[in-house]
Amino acid sequence: MILLAARRSLLALLIAAPLAAQTRIASDFEIQQMERQVARSTDFLSQLSGHLNLGDLRAARNESALARGEYIKALEIAEKERLDARRASAMTRYATATSYAALADAKLGDGAHAFVLSEEALRYTSDSAKTWNLVASTMSVLRRPAKAVSAARNAVAMARRDVQQSPTTSNRLDLGIYEYSLASSLIDLNQTAEAEQLLLEVVTSLNSNEFSNVKRDVARTESFEIYSSARGEGAAYVSLLNRAQLRLARLYEDRGDIARARAQYESVLAARSDDPTALTALARLARTPAERERYYADAFDANPFSLPLIRDYQRYLGEQRAASGEQEFNTTGAKVRVALAQMQRGELVAATATIDALVLQFPDNDTLKQLRREIQQRRASAEIPAFLRSRAKSASPTAAELRALIALFRDDRLTAEQRAQLDAMTFISTAVFSGAPASPPASGQTIFESGSIDAVPFRFAEPIAFNGTFAPQTPLRLTYRILGATQQDGADALLLEPLRLEALR
């Protein structure tokens, strides 16, 4: 994440939410603000920062096609401004537009063009800290941290001179932004000691009385929005403090200073309770399972499409045994977590259905498409259970084999020979039946309809009366045939034909 300062005008107001009836994703508000800014403003910086911010916000949600569209618009605006400025013989304006064109080009992946444009801007304004910071940002986007560090050092050196000569709030804020850029690039180069020192200086400075006027304005206007291209001192202050604290916290976390890391993350949440990065981090650093679950739930609500969060959560699920059916479905974040839990349990058909429903709501989201691809790959690569390749007449299948069998049924990938082998086999497993019998059983009988084998759900075609008295939720020895795949309480399940039920010996 880069941070640019363009502190010359005000932000526009809120427009109607596009995600009616959804719990708001954290960046929804910023997207609405920027869409409104773009719709209402005509000046270059408002238009440019609006599209750059929209691109960054979309990118953070892994909506790459939408992000690219915004960056293309930003580039067009910057290119037009370059030509207009040259016609008007306004060379500083031309250099600024050229710097932004370079940044937009970098975001679009055109490194060669971005480099040439950055050089062109420097011909006219190599005395400008802002130009050097834009070069640093461009190089950072192009993943050239050594170049970014060099450019950022120039920006910081110039801004420090400016602060020495004129220690205004505006100059101090600019210095903080450039120090943050430098620190970010140093982190990319693994030069963390200097980065930590810089970030500490930035956070300390922002929390000091030097910014009391800005802090009062922020409190009065209840500003909380985070932008990569912030406009106005208040917006720049809020965004810079947020980003600097997050960076500093991550440095603390990476070197094992958990207490300091938590303090910084919690400070971020004190200013903005739905910051997805801080929530994800606090889930990682949680002291109890309940705390972890709570932070994960909040983090997914804040940004359901963050791949780092999703990978974190998948690792967490891998360490846990993902329980089924415990999730609430009323938020996008919760639905994504359900899908991840289904993937973890191997309920790939159900996971596909969950993701497909989300894709209908968020058709441009790359995270959902990626998860769907991952599910499809796992389904396609589901191994044929060993018993289907044998001539055995009976088997005691593992949970993995039963889940693979469900996927094979769902994808219709069983050959005629394999189906014949399956039909010829009987299976023996330890089953746990669920719930009370569907209707009062006759004396000496027990009626069951569904249950699970090693956490793999199953059900019968109809309630079956077994001779004998058996309790639900008790491990029992079930002998059965496998008829196919079905759904049980929304989850993938096997359709079984019971042959015998008896107590475990």
Partner: protein, 338 residues
């Protein structure tokens, strides 16, 4: 005049991965991954060899050539007659270079170093001041100007070391040297700063236009005039012609002679362009100017300008003794304009 006056090309903009340079043996073209040498007409390929991923500059001597990749920190140094050479990893952001004898001197901006790469690939390096931007040669010395630091450094070739440094003012956009002086263009201050190479001290400033960006030597000194500098000023949409530095005695003598002969100094002192030009190139008696924002290449005299091509990248054309060569990205060909 008729020979060059009317040729005009409209070329698709956006080609930034090609660099064209004229050399004593023909025209060099660097594309992504390849380096080619064409004959002097630009039609026949003399050789084609390995290049760099993102060529940003090509430097040639009479018998060697180097293509620089500023983004990926690489340079391909090759023999000009054969194209055989080696690719070397450079310091961070190689930005400019020159050949002296068999050695290639390469300025790495973000490494803040001047690297010497021998013909055998052996490397040596000297540290230079912050933001080194330009490297030039005068006699047996190399001069490096560091933009943010505002330092001009004189570097001896043997031993390879910084010999003298002078604080000359930061943020210049161009540096040119003659045997006596260094000329630095300061766009913000609207001045050309002159530094005496003998003393490495300021020899004064020349006020020029509104935003002087690029400098080229337009003529040698004569009995009547000092050396003439052409200065591109995109804000004024002009190329200014000014006299370079001269001693007090020279100035008095030349003024006296002009008085005797009844001559003014440059009756038409500037050329007007429809767009702002920010680069000026002089080849013999032919003057060229380039507008980077629109990619327009002009040929001009003191009284008029003619568009030669539009929509070309700053590095995609070269002016040499055998003509003007451009890379036309629309048809993917090297073309000779005149």
């Amino acid at each position: 005049m008729k020979r060059w006056g009317i040729v005009c090309l409209l070329i698709v903009p956006g080609a930034f991965a090609q660099v064209v340079t004229t050399t004593p043996r023909g025209v060099a073209l660097a594309n992504s991954g390849s380096l080619q040498l064409f004959d002097r007409s630009g039609r026949e390929v003399l050789w084609s060899g390995e290049g760099v991923d993102s060529p940003t500059a090509v430097i040639a001597s009479s018998d060697r050539i180097a293509v620089i990749d500023s983004i990926n920190n690489e340079a391909r140094v090759a023999d000009l007659p054969t194209g055989r050479g080696r690719t070397v990893h450079t310091g961070e952001t190689p930005i400019d270079g020159l050949f002296v004898g068999g050695d290639f001197f390469l300025l790495a901006r973000d490494a803040r170093s001047l690297d010497r790469i021998g013909s055998d690939g052996a490397k040596a390096s000297v540290a230079v001041a912050a933001d080194p931007a330009f490297i030039r040669q005068a006699g047996d010395r190399i001069y490096v100007y560091s933009r943010a630091a505002g330092v001009l450094q004189e570097i001896t070739i043997s031993p390879f070391a910084v010999h003298r440094s002078a604080q000359v003012g930061p943020f210049a956009s161009d540096l040119e040297l003659d045997s006596r002086n260094a000329y630095l263009a300061y766009p913000r201050a609207a001045k050309i700063g002159v530094v005496s190479l003998a003393s490495m001290t300021s020899a004064g400033n020349i006020d020029v236009g509104a935003v002087p960006v690029d400098v080229a030597f337009a003529s040698r000194s004569t009995a009547l005039t000092a050396r003439t500098l052409a200065v591109a000023d995109p804000s004024a949409k002009r190329v200014w012609m000014i006299e370079g530095a001269q001693s007090f005695t020279q100035a008095v003598t030349r003024g006296f002679l002009r008085g005797l002969l009844g001559l003014g100094l440059f009756g038409g002192r500037a050329s007007q362009f429809p767009t702002g030009v920010d680069r000026v190139i002089v080849r013999g008696s032919a003057w060229f100017a380039f507008d980077t924002s629109s990619g327009t290449l002009y040929r001009f005299t003191k009284s008029r300008s003619v568009v030669l091509a539009k929509g070309i990248a700053p590095s995609a054309f070269s002016v040499g003794p055998d003509g003007v060569f451009i890379w036309n990205d629309a048809v993917r060909r090297l073309q000779r304009l005149e």
